[in-house]
Protein backbone atom coordinates (compact mmCIF):
# COMPACT_ATOMS: atom_id res chain seq x y z
CA UNK A 1 0.00 0.00 0.00
CA UNK A 2 2.95 2.24 0.72
CA UNK A 3 4.32 1.87 -2.78
CA UNK A 4 0.90 2.67 -4.16
CA UNK A 5 0.68 5.96 -2.29
CA UNK A 6 4.16 6.92 -3.51
CA UNK A 7 3.01 6.55 -7.09
CA UNK A 8 0.07 8.86 -6.42
CA UNK A 9 2.22 11.72 -5.22
CA UNK A 10 2.41 13.49 -8.55
CA UNK A 11 -1.36 14.02 -8.26
CA UNK A 12 -0.48 16.76 -5.80
CA UNK A 13 0.50 18.93 -8.75
CA UNK A 14 -2.95 18.55 -10.29
CA UNK A 15 -4.57 19.60 -7.06
CA UNK A 16 -2.47 22.69 -6.56
CA UNK A 17 -2.37 23.65 -10.24
CA UNK A 18 -5.63 25.67 -10.40
CA UNK A 19 -4.54 27.91 -7.54
CA UNK A 20 -1.13 28.60 -9.01
CA UNK A 21 -2.50 29.19 -12.50
CA UNK A 22 -5.07 31.69 -11.25
CA UNK A 23 -2.55 33.30 -8.94
CA UNK A 24 0.04 33.64 -11.69
CA UNK A 25 -2.39 35.27 -14.10
CA UNK A 26 -4.39 37.47 -11.72
CA UNK A 27 -1.96 38.00 -8.85
CA UNK A 28 1.67 37.65 -9.82
CA UNK A 29 1.42 38.96 -13.37
CA UNK A 30 -0.36 42.19 -12.33
CA UNK A 31 2.26 42.78 -9.62
CA UNK A 32 5.10 42.34 -12.10
CA UNK A 33 3.22 44.46 -14.61
CA UNK A 34 2.81 47.18 -11.96
CA UNK A 35 6.55 46.99 -11.39
CA UNK A 36 7.16 47.44 -15.11
CA UNK A 37 4.70 50.33 -15.31
CA UNK A 38 6.46 52.01 -12.39
CA UNK A 39 9.45 52.51 -14.71
CA UNK A 40 7.31 54.12 -17.41
CA UNK A 41 5.16 57.22 -17.78
CA UNK A 42 2.08 55.21 -18.73
CA UNK A 43 -1.13 57.27 -18.89
CA UNK A 44 -3.53 54.45 -19.71
CA UNK A 45 -3.97 55.35 -23.37
CA UNK A 46 -0.66 55.90 -25.18
CA UNK A 47 2.10 53.29 -25.21
CA UNK A 48 4.17 53.31 -22.02
CA UNK A 49 7.48 55.12 -22.41
CA UNK A 50 10.40 53.84 -20.36
CA UNK A 51 11.68 56.47 -17.93
CA UNK A 52 13.98 54.35 -15.74
CA UNK A 53 13.90 55.25 -12.08
CA UNK A 54 12.47 58.67 -12.88
CA UNK A 55 9.17 57.98 -11.11
CA UNK A 56 10.93 56.77 -7.98
CA UNK A 57 13.16 59.84 -7.88
CA UNK A 58 10.06 62.00 -8.25
CA UNK A 59 8.18 60.13 -5.51
CA UNK A 60 11.09 60.57 -3.12
CA UNK A 61 11.05 64.32 -3.80
CA UNK A 62 7.27 64.68 -3.66
CA UNK A 63 6.16 66.65 -0.56
CA UNK A 64 2.61 65.34 -0.95
CA UNK A 65 3.89 61.77 -0.82
CA UNK A 66 5.61 62.50 2.48
CA UNK A 67 2.57 64.28 3.77
CA UNK A 68 0.27 61.36 3.00
CA UNK A 69 2.86 58.98 4.44
CA UNK A 70 2.97 61.04 7.60
CA UNK A 71 -0.86 61.05 7.77
CA UNK A 72 -0.93 57.28 7.30
CA UNK A 73 1.73 56.57 9.92
CA UNK A 74 0.21 59.05 12.36
CA UNK A 75 -3.28 57.60 11.95
CA UNK A 76 -1.88 54.09 12.23
CA UNK A 77 0.32 54.81 15.25
CA UNK A 78 -2.35 56.63 17.21
CA UNK A 79 -4.81 53.79 16.64
CA UNK A 80 -2.53 50.78 16.96
CA UNK A 81 -0.92 51.52 20.32
CA UNK A 82 -4.20 51.77 22.26
CA UNK A 83 -5.65 49.00 20.12
CA UNK A 84 -2.96 46.49 21.02
CA UNK A 85 -2.81 47.43 24.70
CA UNK A 86 -6.52 47.82 25.40
CA UNK A 87 -7.30 44.58 23.58
CA UNK A 88 -4.62 42.73 25.56
CA UNK A 89 -6.06 43.94 28.87
CA UNK A 90 -9.58 43.11 27.70
CA UNK A 91 -8.49 39.64 26.64
CA UNK A 92 -6.95 39.08 30.06
CA UNK A 93 -10.17 40.21 31.76
CA UNK A 94 -12.45 38.20 29.49
CA UNK A 95 -10.32 35.09 29.88
CA UNK A 96 -11.45 34.89 33.51
CA UNK A 97 -13.90 32.01 33.63
CA UNK A 98 -15.80 33.54 36.53
CA UNK A 99 -16.70 36.64 34.58
CA UNK A 100 -20.33 36.73 33.51
CA UNK A 101 -21.30 37.52 29.93
CA UNK A 102 -17.91 36.68 28.45
CA UNK A 103 -19.35 35.51 25.14
CA UNK A 104 -21.59 38.54 24.92
CA UNK A 105 -18.77 41.05 25.42
CA UNK A 106 -16.51 39.13 23.08
CA UNK A 107 -19.14 39.21 20.32
CA UNK A 108 -20.07 42.88 20.82
CA UNK A 109 -16.43 44.04 20.79
CA UNK A 110 -15.67 41.96 17.73
CA UNK A 111 -18.71 43.12 15.81
CA UNK A 112 -17.40 46.50 14.48
CA UNK A 113 -14.57 44.59 12.82
CA UNK A 114 -16.82 42.98 10.26
CA UNK A 115 -18.87 46.07 9.49
CA UNK A 116 -18.26 47.47 6.01
CA UNK A 117 -15.37 49.89 6.54
CA UNK A 118 -16.57 52.22 3.80
CA UNK A 119 -20.06 52.45 5.26
CA UNK A 120 -18.63 53.02 8.71
CA UNK A 121 -16.57 55.94 7.43
CA UNK A 122 -19.69 57.44 5.88
CA UNK A 123 -21.68 56.87 9.07
CA UNK A 124 -19.05 58.63 11.20
CA UNK A 125 -18.98 61.43 8.65
CA UNK A 126 -22.74 61.85 9.08
CA UNK A 127 -22.59 61.74 12.88
CA UNK A 128 -19.79 64.35 12.97
CA UNK A 129 -21.44 66.65 10.45
CA UNK A 130 -21.29 70.28 11.48
CA UNK A 131 -24.95 71.18 11.02
CA UNK A 132 -26.87 67.92 10.81
CA UNK A 133 -24.65 65.58 12.83
CA UNK A 134 -26.07 63.81 15.86
CA UNK A 135 -23.02 64.55 18.00
CA UNK A 136 -23.30 68.34 17.82
CA UNK A 137 -27.04 68.20 18.52
CA UNK A 138 -26.40 65.96 21.47
CA UNK A 139 -23.66 68.18 22.91
CA UNK A 140 -25.76 71.33 22.45
CA UNK A 141 -28.84 69.74 23.97
CA UNK A 142 -26.96 68.44 26.99
CA UNK A 143 -25.40 71.89 27.36
CA UNK A 144 -21.75 70.98 26.98
CA UNK A 145 -21.30 73.38 24.06
CA UNK A 146 -23.29 76.43 22.96
CA UNK A 147 -22.65 76.32 19.23
CA UNK A 148 -22.08 73.36 16.95
CA UNK A 149 -18.40 72.56 16.39
CA UNK A 150 -17.17 72.24 12.83
CA UNK A 151 -15.28 69.02 13.53
CA UNK A 152 -14.42 68.29 9.94
CA UNK A 153 -12.64 71.61 9.53
CA UNK A 154 -9.80 70.66 11.84
CA UNK A 155 -6.90 68.74 10.24
CA UNK A 156 -5.70 67.15 13.48
CA UNK A 157 -9.17 66.21 14.52
CA UNK A 158 -9.74 64.52 11.17
CA UNK A 159 -6.61 62.41 11.60
CA UNK A 160 -7.62 61.50 15.12
CA UNK A 161 -11.12 60.54 14.08
CA UNK A 162 -9.76 58.13 11.47
CA UNK A 163 -7.54 56.65 14.19
CA UNK A 164 -10.59 56.35 16.41
CA UNK A 165 -12.52 54.53 13.68
CA UNK A 166 -9.63 52.11 13.20
CA UNK A 167 -9.38 51.52 16.93
CA UNK A 168 -13.14 50.96 17.05
CA UNK A 169 -12.89 48.44 14.21
CA UNK A 170 -9.84 46.52 15.33
CA UNK A 171 -9.63 46.36 19.10
CA UNK A 172 -12.14 43.50 19.24
CA UNK A 173 -10.29 41.65 16.51
CA UNK A 174 -6.96 41.88 18.34
CA UNK A 175 -8.73 40.91 21.54
CA UNK A 176 -10.00 37.69 19.95
CA UNK A 177 -6.50 36.87 18.74
CA UNK A 178 -5.03 37.51 22.20
CA UNK A 179 -7.80 35.41 23.74
CA UNK A 180 -6.88 32.55 21.43
CA UNK A 181 -3.28 32.98 22.53
CA UNK A 182 -4.27 32.98 26.19
CA UNK A 183 -6.11 29.69 25.74
CA UNK A 184 -2.77 28.19 24.75
CA UNK A 185 -1.10 29.19 28.02
CA UNK A 186 -1.18 26.44 30.60
CA UNK A 187 -3.63 27.59 33.32
CA UNK A 188 -1.54 25.75 35.90
CA UNK A 189 1.10 28.43 35.43
CA UNK A 190 -1.26 31.20 36.47
CA UNK A 191 -2.68 29.15 39.31
CA UNK A 192 0.78 28.41 40.64
CA UNK A 193 1.60 32.12 40.63
CA UNK A 194 -1.70 32.84 42.34
CA UNK A 195 -0.91 30.26 45.04
CA UNK A 196 2.41 31.98 45.61
CA UNK A 197 0.49 35.17 46.26
CA UNK A 198 1.08 37.01 42.99
CA UNK A 199 -1.39 39.77 42.24
CA UNK A 200 -3.37 39.78 38.97
CA UNK A 201 -1.41 42.80 37.83
CA UNK A 202 1.88 40.98 38.29
CA UNK A 203 0.63 37.81 36.65
CA UNK A 204 -0.38 39.93 33.69
CA UNK A 205 2.94 41.74 33.35
CA UNK A 206 5.34 38.93 34.23
CA UNK A 207 3.61 35.84 32.90
CA UNK A 208 0.95 36.73 30.33
CA UNK A 209 2.72 39.43 28.33
CA UNK A 210 6.04 37.54 27.90
CA UNK A 211 4.23 34.35 26.92
CA UNK A 212 2.15 36.18 24.33
CA UNK A 213 5.19 37.75 22.66
CA UNK A 214 4.85 35.74 19.41
CA UNK A 215 1.19 36.77 19.19
CA UNK A 216 2.09 40.40 19.85
CA UNK A 217 4.63 40.24 17.03
CA UNK A 218 2.05 38.67 14.75
CA UNK A 219 -0.36 41.50 15.57
CA UNK A 220 2.31 44.15 15.03
CA UNK A 221 3.21 42.86 11.59
CA UNK A 222 -0.35 42.31 10.39
CA UNK A 223 -1.30 45.75 11.67
CA UNK A 224 1.61 47.35 9.80
CA UNK A 225 0.54 45.65 6.58
CA UNK A 226 -3.06 46.69 7.19
CA UNK A 227 -2.17 50.13 8.53
CA UNK A 228 -0.26 51.25 5.46
CA UNK A 229 -3.25 50.19 3.35
CA UNK A 230 -5.85 52.32 5.16
CA UNK A 231 -8.21 53.60 2.51
CA UNK A 232 -11.92 52.90 2.90
CA UNK A 233 -12.62 54.77 6.13
CA UNK A 234 -10.80 58.05 5.40
CA UNK A 235 -12.03 57.96 1.79
CA UNK A 236 -15.71 57.86 2.71
CA UNK A 237 -15.24 59.98 5.84
CA UNK A 238 -13.90 62.85 3.73
CA UNK A 239 -15.96 62.06 0.63
CA UNK A 240 -12.74 61.24 -1.21
CA UNK A 241 -11.20 64.66 -0.64
CA UNK A 242 -8.84 63.79 2.19
CA UNK A 243 -10.36 66.42 4.46
CA UNK A 244 -9.07 69.91 5.30
CA UNK A 245 -5.59 70.47 3.88
CA UNK A 246 -5.57 66.76 2.89
CA UNK A 247 -4.89 65.95 6.53
CA UNK A 248 -6.66 62.62 6.40
CA UNK A 249 -5.43 61.65 2.96
CA UNK A 250 -3.62 58.35 3.33
CA UNK A 251 -0.92 57.05 1.02
CA UNK A 252 -3.28 54.66 -0.72
CA UNK A 253 -5.77 57.50 -1.25
CA UNK A 254 -2.94 59.45 -2.83
CA UNK A 255 -2.06 56.44 -4.97
CA UNK A 256 -5.71 56.15 -6.00
CA UNK A 257 -5.88 59.84 -6.91
CA UNK A 258 -2.64 59.80 -8.86
CA UNK A 259 -3.28 56.57 -10.76
CA UNK A 260 -7.02 56.49 -11.29
CA UNK A 261 -8.12 60.13 -11.10
CA UNK A 262 -5.13 61.79 -12.81
CA UNK A 263 -4.31 58.61 -14.83
CA UNK A 264 -0.60 58.81 -14.00
CA UNK A 265 -0.26 55.04 -13.72
CA UNK A 266 3.53 54.96 -13.76
CA UNK A 267 3.78 57.39 -10.87
CA UNK A 268 1.03 55.58 -8.96
CA UNK A 269 2.81 52.25 -9.40
CA UNK A 270 6.05 53.78 -8.10
CA UNK A 271 4.15 54.99 -5.01
CA UNK A 272 2.81 51.46 -4.51
CA UNK A 273 6.28 49.93 -4.54
CA UNK A 274 7.68 52.61 -2.24
CA UNK A 275 4.91 51.74 0.22
CA UNK A 276 5.75 48.06 -0.13
CA UNK A 277 9.38 48.78 0.79
CA UNK A 278 8.20 50.77 3.82
CA UNK A 279 5.98 47.88 4.92
CA UNK A 280 8.92 45.48 4.72
CA UNK A 281 11.22 47.87 6.62
CA UNK A 282 8.66 48.42 9.39
CA UNK A 283 8.00 44.68 9.66
CA UNK A 284 11.72 43.95 9.97
CA UNK A 285 12.11 46.69 12.60
CA UNK A 286 9.24 45.37 14.69
CA UNK A 287 10.60 41.84 14.34
CA UNK A 288 14.02 42.93 15.60
CA UNK A 289 12.50 44.97 18.42
CA UNK A 290 10.33 42.13 19.64
CA UNK A 291 13.08 39.54 19.55
CA UNK A 292 15.56 41.87 21.28
CA UNK A 293 13.11 42.43 24.12
CA UNK A 294 12.76 38.70 24.66
CA UNK A 295 16.52 38.32 25.10
CA UNK A 296 16.84 40.92 27.82
Amino acid sequence: MFAKSIRKDHYGYYFIAPFFIIFTIFGLYPILYSLYISFTNFDGITTPEFVGIGNYVAVLQDPLFYKTLFNTLFIWGVSVVPQLTVSLVLAFILNDKLLKGRDFFRAVYFFPNIVTAASLGLLVSLIFDWQSGGLNHFLVQVGIIDDPINWKNDPWFMRLIVSAILFFQYFGYSMVIYLAGLQGIDPALQEAAQMDGAKKKHIFIHIIVPMLRPIILFQMITSIIGGIQIFDQPFTLTNGSGGPDRAAMTSIMYLYNVAFQSTRFGYGAAIAFCLFVIIILLSVVSFIMTSRKSRS
Partner: protein, 293 residues
Protein backbone atom coordinates in the same frame (compact mmCIF):
# COMPACT_ATOMS: atom_id res chain seq x y z
CA UNK B 1 -6.05 22.79 23.57
CA UNK B 2 -7.54 21.62 26.87
CA UNK B 3 -4.70 20.85 29.23
CA UNK B 4 -4.79 19.23 32.65
CA UNK B 5 -7.52 20.72 34.81
CA UNK B 6 -6.53 22.13 38.15
CA UNK B 7 -5.42 19.24 40.27
CA UNK B 8 -6.33 20.86 43.55
CA UNK B 9 -9.95 21.58 42.75
CA UNK B 10 -11.15 22.44 46.28
CA UNK B 11 -8.20 24.68 46.93
CA UNK B 12 -8.71 26.57 43.67
CA UNK B 13 -12.41 26.94 44.42
CA UNK B 14 -11.65 28.52 47.78
CA UNK B 15 -9.19 30.83 46.12
CA UNK B 16 -11.77 31.86 43.55
CA UNK B 17 -14.45 32.30 46.17
CA UNK B 18 -12.11 34.43 48.25
CA UNK B 19 -11.15 36.55 45.28
CA UNK B 20 -14.75 37.14 44.19
CA UNK B 21 -15.60 38.25 47.74
CA UNK B 22 -12.61 40.47 48.13
CA UNK B 23 -12.66 42.20 44.77
CA UNK B 24 -16.24 43.41 44.80
CA UNK B 25 -15.38 47.03 44.03
CA UNK B 26 -12.83 46.01 41.41
CA UNK B 27 -15.37 43.71 39.81
CA UNK B 28 -17.95 46.49 39.67
CA UNK B 29 -15.48 48.82 37.98
CA UNK B 30 -14.54 46.11 35.49
CA UNK B 31 -18.17 45.40 34.62
CA UNK B 32 -18.85 49.12 34.24
CA UNK B 33 -15.90 49.51 31.87
CA UNK B 34 -16.91 46.44 29.89
CA UNK B 35 -20.48 47.64 29.60
CA UNK B 36 -19.42 51.17 28.67
CA UNK B 37 -17.25 49.84 25.89
CA UNK B 38 -20.10 47.62 24.69
CA UNK B 39 -22.39 50.65 24.55
CA UNK B 40 -19.82 52.54 22.46
CA UNK B 41 -19.74 49.59 20.07
CA UNK B 42 -23.49 49.57 19.62
CA UNK B 43 -24.49 53.27 19.72
CA UNK B 44 -23.31 54.29 16.23
CA UNK B 45 -25.33 51.50 14.66
CA UNK B 46 -28.32 52.25 16.82
CA UNK B 47 -28.18 55.92 15.78
CA UNK B 48 -27.83 54.82 12.16
CA UNK B 49 -31.08 52.86 12.33
CA UNK B 50 -32.89 55.60 14.25
CA UNK B 51 -31.76 58.37 11.90
CA UNK B 52 -32.81 56.39 8.86
CA UNK B 53 -36.40 56.80 10.10
CA UNK B 54 -36.31 60.60 10.27
CA UNK B 55 -36.59 63.28 7.63
CA UNK B 56 -34.06 65.97 6.85
CA UNK B 57 -35.72 68.59 9.03
CA UNK B 58 -35.52 66.48 12.19
CA UNK B 59 -32.01 65.24 11.53
CA UNK B 60 -30.74 68.73 10.83
CA UNK B 61 -32.26 70.30 13.90
CA UNK B 62 -32.35 67.99 16.91
CA UNK B 63 -30.75 65.05 18.60
CA UNK B 64 -33.02 62.06 18.87
CA UNK B 65 -32.68 58.47 19.90
CA UNK B 66 -36.24 57.44 19.19
CA UNK B 67 -37.49 56.14 15.85
CA UNK B 68 -39.46 58.44 13.57
CA UNK B 69 -42.14 57.83 10.92
CA UNK B 70 -40.17 58.64 7.77
CA UNK B 71 -38.50 55.37 6.88
CA UNK B 72 -40.88 54.76 3.96
CA UNK B 73 -40.39 58.32 2.65
CA UNK B 74 -36.62 57.94 2.85
CA UNK B 75 -36.86 54.63 1.08
CA UNK B 76 -39.01 55.98 -1.77
CA UNK B 77 -36.73 58.99 -2.03
CA UNK B 78 -33.72 56.68 -2.30
CA UNK B 79 -35.42 54.29 -4.72
CA UNK B 80 -36.18 57.21 -7.03
CA UNK B 81 -32.49 58.11 -7.17
CA UNK B 82 -30.46 54.94 -6.97
CA UNK B 83 -31.17 51.25 -7.42
CA UNK B 84 -29.96 50.04 -4.08
CA UNK B 85 -31.31 46.52 -4.56
CA UNK B 86 -29.29 46.22 -7.71
CA UNK B 87 -26.23 47.04 -5.58
CA UNK B 88 -27.40 44.49 -3.07
CA UNK B 89 -27.75 41.83 -5.76
CA UNK B 90 -24.32 42.75 -7.16
CA UNK B 91 -22.74 42.35 -3.74
CA UNK B 92 -24.53 39.06 -3.17
CA UNK B 93 -23.46 37.70 -6.54
CA UNK B 94 -19.84 38.84 -6.29
CA UNK B 95 -19.38 37.74 -2.69
CA UNK B 96 -21.21 34.45 -3.27
CA UNK B 97 -19.33 33.34 -6.35
CA UNK B 98 -15.91 34.44 -5.12
CA UNK B 99 -16.49 32.67 -1.81
CA UNK B 100 -17.53 29.40 -3.42
CA UNK B 101 -14.70 29.54 -5.95
CA UNK B 102 -12.00 30.46 -3.45
CA UNK B 103 -13.17 27.78 -1.02
CA UNK B 104 -13.21 25.05 -3.66
CA UNK B 105 -9.85 25.99 -5.14
CA UNK B 106 -8.50 26.56 -1.64
CA UNK B 107 -9.58 23.07 -0.60
CA UNK B 108 -8.08 21.50 -3.72
CA UNK B 109 -4.80 23.27 -3.08
CA UNK B 110 -4.78 22.48 0.63
CA UNK B 111 -5.46 18.81 -0.16
CA UNK B 112 -2.60 18.76 -2.64
CA UNK B 113 -0.22 20.20 -0.07
CA UNK B 114 -1.47 18.21 2.89
CA UNK B 115 -1.72 14.72 1.44
CA UNK B 116 0.76 14.44 -1.42
CA UNK B 117 4.52 14.48 -0.99
CA UNK B 118 5.58 15.84 -4.36
CA UNK B 119 8.86 17.51 -5.19
CA UNK B 120 9.10 21.21 -4.35
CA UNK B 121 6.12 21.03 -2.02
CA UNK B 122 7.75 22.92 0.83
CA UNK B 123 9.01 25.69 -1.41
CA UNK B 124 5.72 26.15 -3.19
CA UNK B 125 3.89 26.34 0.12
CA UNK B 126 6.36 28.86 1.51
CA UNK B 127 5.87 30.91 -1.63
CA UNK B 128 2.12 30.75 -1.12
CA UNK B 129 2.47 31.94 2.48
CA UNK B 130 4.78 34.75 1.41
CA UNK B 131 2.14 36.08 -0.97
CA UNK B 132 -0.05 36.85 2.04
CA UNK B 133 2.49 39.48 3.06
CA UNK B 134 2.17 41.36 -0.21
CA UNK B 135 -0.38 44.19 -0.08
CA UNK B 136 -3.09 43.99 -2.72
CA UNK B 137 -2.49 47.54 -3.94
CA UNK B 138 0.74 46.43 -5.61
CA UNK B 139 -1.30 44.48 -8.12
CA UNK B 140 -4.00 47.09 -8.56
CA UNK B 141 -2.51 49.08 -11.42
CA UNK B 142 -1.27 46.00 -13.25
CA UNK B 143 -4.68 44.42 -12.76
CA UNK B 144 -6.38 47.46 -14.22
CA UNK B 145 -4.12 47.23 -17.25
CA UNK B 146 -4.57 43.44 -17.56
CA UNK B 147 -8.35 43.60 -17.44
CA UNK B 148 -8.45 46.51 -19.82
CA UNK B 149 -6.39 44.42 -22.29
CA UNK B 150 -8.67 41.42 -21.78
CA UNK B 151 -11.71 43.65 -22.18
CA UNK B 152 -12.89 42.65 -18.72
CA UNK B 153 -12.91 46.06 -17.05
CA UNK B 154 -16.30 46.80 -15.55
CA UNK B 155 -17.13 43.07 -15.49
CA UNK B 156 -17.80 40.85 -12.49
CA UNK B 157 -14.99 38.54 -13.61
CA UNK B 158 -12.47 41.28 -12.78
CA UNK B 159 -13.35 40.97 -9.09
CA UNK B 160 -14.19 37.28 -8.88
CA UNK B 161 -11.21 35.73 -10.68
CA UNK B 162 -8.40 37.28 -8.59
CA UNK B 163 -10.37 36.47 -5.41
CA UNK B 164 -10.44 32.79 -6.37
CA UNK B 165 -6.78 32.34 -5.42
CA UNK B 166 -6.95 33.10 -1.70
CA UNK B 167 -3.75 32.06 0.08
CA UNK B 168 -5.19 32.50 3.54
CA UNK B 169 -7.99 30.04 2.79
CA UNK B 170 -5.48 27.45 1.58
CA UNK B 171 -3.44 27.89 4.73
CA UNK B 172 -6.49 27.64 6.97
CA UNK B 173 -7.97 24.56 5.28
CA UNK B 174 -4.60 22.81 5.22
CA UNK B 175 -4.27 23.19 9.00
CA UNK B 176 -7.70 21.70 9.47
CA UNK B 177 -7.10 18.91 6.97
CA UNK B 178 -3.91 17.73 8.62
CA UNK B 179 -5.64 17.21 11.94
CA UNK B 180 -9.03 15.93 10.82
CA UNK B 181 -8.49 13.78 7.72
CA UNK B 182 -6.53 10.62 8.44
CA UNK B 183 -4.47 9.19 5.59
CA UNK B 184 -6.21 5.84 6.11
CA UNK B 185 -9.46 7.20 4.69
CA UNK B 186 -7.69 8.24 1.51
CA UNK B 187 -5.79 4.96 1.36
CA UNK B 188 -8.96 2.92 1.67
CA UNK B 189 -10.64 4.97 -1.04
CA UNK B 190 -7.65 4.16 -3.25
CA UNK B 191 -7.93 0.47 -2.42
CA UNK B 192 -11.55 0.67 -3.53
CA UNK B 193 -10.07 2.13 -6.72
CA UNK B 194 -11.72 5.53 -6.51
CA UNK B 195 -10.08 8.18 -8.67
CA UNK B 196 -8.09 10.86 -6.87
CA UNK B 197 -10.54 13.65 -7.68
CA UNK B 198 -13.51 11.49 -6.83
CA UNK B 199 -11.92 10.78 -3.46
CA UNK B 200 -11.50 14.48 -2.95
CA UNK B 201 -15.01 15.47 -3.97
CA UNK B 202 -16.92 12.67 -2.30
CA UNK B 203 -14.87 11.90 0.80
CA UNK B 204 -12.53 14.74 1.69
CA UNK B 205 -14.80 17.68 0.88
CA UNK B 206 -17.74 16.49 3.03
CA UNK B 207 -15.42 16.03 6.03
CA UNK B 208 -14.17 19.58 5.56
CA UNK B 209 -17.76 20.85 5.81
CA UNK B 210 -17.70 22.54 9.23
CA UNK B 211 -14.31 24.21 8.72
CA UNK B 212 -15.26 25.37 5.26
CA UNK B 213 -18.55 26.86 6.37
CA UNK B 214 -16.87 28.84 9.15
CA UNK B 215 -14.25 30.09 6.75
CA UNK B 216 -16.90 30.66 4.10
CA UNK B 217 -18.84 33.11 6.24
CA UNK B 218 -15.65 35.01 6.89
CA UNK B 219 -14.61 35.03 3.24
CA UNK B 220 -18.10 36.15 2.25
CA UNK B 221 -18.04 39.10 4.66
CA UNK B 222 -14.56 40.07 3.51
CA UNK B 223 -15.71 40.06 -0.08
CA UNK B 224 -18.93 41.90 0.74
CA UNK B 225 -16.88 44.68 2.37
CA UNK B 226 -14.40 44.96 -0.50
CA UNK B 227 -14.28 48.59 -1.58
CA UNK B 228 -11.16 49.75 -3.38
CA UNK B 229 -10.96 47.08 -6.10
CA UNK B 230 -14.53 47.50 -7.38
CA UNK B 231 -14.14 51.27 -7.08
CA UNK B 232 -11.21 51.07 -9.48
CA UNK B 233 -12.32 48.29 -11.82
CA UNK B 234 -16.01 49.16 -12.24
CA UNK B 235 -17.47 52.20 -13.96
CA UNK B 236 -21.18 51.69 -14.37
CA UNK B 237 -23.59 52.46 -11.58
CA UNK B 238 -25.51 49.22 -12.12
CA UNK B 239 -22.40 47.07 -11.56
CA UNK B 240 -21.26 48.58 -8.27
CA UNK B 241 -21.51 46.46 -5.15
CA UNK B 242 -23.41 47.93 -2.24
CA UNK B 243 -20.60 49.63 -0.25
CA UNK B 244 -19.31 51.47 -3.33
CA UNK B 245 -22.80 52.49 -4.37
CA UNK B 246 -23.57 53.85 -0.90
CA UNK B 247 -20.28 55.75 -0.72
CA UNK B 248 -20.87 57.34 -4.12
CA UNK B 249 -24.38 58.38 -3.15
CA UNK B 250 -22.76 60.71 -0.63
CA UNK B 251 -21.24 62.66 -3.48
CA UNK B 252 -24.50 62.89 -5.42
CA UNK B 253 -27.06 63.43 -2.68
CA UNK B 254 -24.87 64.70 0.15
CA UNK B 255 -27.57 66.87 1.69
CA UNK B 256 -30.21 64.17 1.87
CA UNK B 257 -29.43 62.87 5.33
CA UNK B 258 -32.33 60.50 5.87
CA UNK B 259 -31.55 58.85 2.55
CA UNK B 260 -27.86 58.57 3.41
CA UNK B 261 -28.51 57.02 6.81
CA UNK B 262 -30.91 54.55 5.23
CA UNK B 263 -28.35 53.67 2.56
CA UNK B 264 -25.67 53.06 5.18
CA UNK B 265 -28.14 51.02 7.22
CA UNK B 266 -29.05 48.83 4.25
CA UNK B 267 -25.37 48.23 3.53
CA UNK B 268 -24.61 47.27 7.13
CA UNK B 269 -27.78 45.41 8.19
CA UNK B 270 -26.99 42.19 6.30
CA UNK B 271 -23.67 42.08 8.14
CA UNK B 272 -25.42 42.59 11.46
CA UNK B 273 -27.81 39.73 10.68
CA UNK B 274 -25.06 37.38 9.52
CA UNK B 275 -23.06 38.21 12.62
CA UNK B 276 -26.01 37.70 14.94
CA UNK B 277 -26.41 34.17 13.58
CA UNK B 278 -22.80 33.12 13.07
CA UNK B 279 -20.78 35.18 15.57
CA UNK B 280 -19.37 32.07 17.21
CA UNK B 281 -18.09 30.59 13.94
CA UNK B 282 -16.72 33.91 12.72
CA UNK B 283 -14.82 34.63 15.92
CA UNK B 284 -13.70 31.00 16.07
CA UNK B 285 -12.21 31.05 12.59
CA UNK B 286 -10.34 34.30 13.29
CA UNK B 287 -8.88 32.87 16.49
CA UNK B 288 -7.95 29.59 14.85
CA UNK B 289 -6.30 31.21 11.85
CA UNK B 290 -4.26 33.55 14.04
CA UNK B 291 -2.98 31.06 16.57
CA UNK B 292 -2.02 28.42 14.06
CA UNK B 293 -0.11 31.11 12.20
Amino acid sequence: MQTAKSIEQPNAAIQHYASTKRLTLGKVIIYMLLTGLAVICIVPFYLMIIYSTHNNATIASTFTFLPGPFVADNYLNMASKINIWRGFANSLFIAGTSTVLSLYIGSLTAYGFAKFKFKGRTWLFMFLLATMMVPGQLALIGMYRLFSTLGLLDSYAAIILPAAANAFNVFFIKQFMESSIPDEIIESARVDSAGEFRTFNQIVLPILGPAISALGIFTFIGSWNNFLTPLVLFFSLDKYPLPVLVALVQGYYGMDYGLLYLGVAISILPIIIVFAIFSRQIIGSVALGAVKG
